[in-house]
Amino acid sequence: MTMMDENELRRRFAELRDTDRESAPTFAQTYGRARTDRTTRAQESPDKHAWSARRPRLRVRPLAIAAAAAVLIVAVWMARERSLSPREGNPEIATWRAPTDVLLDTPGSELLGTMPALGESVLDKMIPTYSLRGS
């Protein structure tokens, strides 16, 4: 691997610069072409320029950003609504009852679920007889 010194690099770049300068257009050519191109472009589309001069310029970028923001807000809102609403056919666990729960209702379970009191008969609870006593 041959490492070059800085002078060799400078010499090579100088050669490149000389080659470029030989082929470079003059300033008058470059500037003249630029002005001609601009004039031609202006003549080719005078209607467009007139139209843009008459019509107030729309600010397209802010409008596009506002539209995109609106779409984003609506999408987020819809997604949120969907996640909050209960789904059909999928009842909440707190209200769900198994279909075999009825088998757990044994006869006399209401007697076991209440506190017995003195002077009362369990039969009073099972058979409401107060109307008969009263009569």
């Binding site: 490492m3 070059m4 690099l9 470029d20 300068r21 257009p25 300033f27 500037y31 630029a34």
Partner: protein, 170 residues
Amino acid sequence: MDEVELRCHLERTHADCFGWAMACCSRDRDHAEEVLQTVYLTVLDGRARYDGRSTFRTWLFGVIRLTAASERRKAWLRGLLLERKARDVRPEPIASPDAEVERDSRGNVLRRALADLAARQREVLQLVFYHDLTVEEAANVMGVSVGSARTHYARGKARLATLLGNGKEL
């Protein structure tokens, strides 16, 4: 600075500017000319103003660099959106016999080696060796810190020397 004075300055630095525009446009001559035309119109129309914070040439090189980057972005977008198909079917340009001969010249060895460098390294070397700017001035043109420019300069120089050394051996 009035228009006459500006034109004098532009005319004086034109050859240098063309070389820099060529470097900024991957040595595409047509593209470089277009960029330079845009820059001249921009400067003379007053859309880019020289504020005297650096030398006129350094400032102008900065304008050329930004314009070339902007044109490159526009061309890329155009190619992406509209002209992809057309570009795909466009045939490869056929090299002329002169170009074939030129390809083997020393200048082209340097161009090929430069093309292999990272963009920042290529820019700083072009500015320092081709345009005889200092590394500080090159940093100003490139819009980077002097320290960063020095790093790119050192790495680029070493890599270029290696590439040219290998080319020499071949």
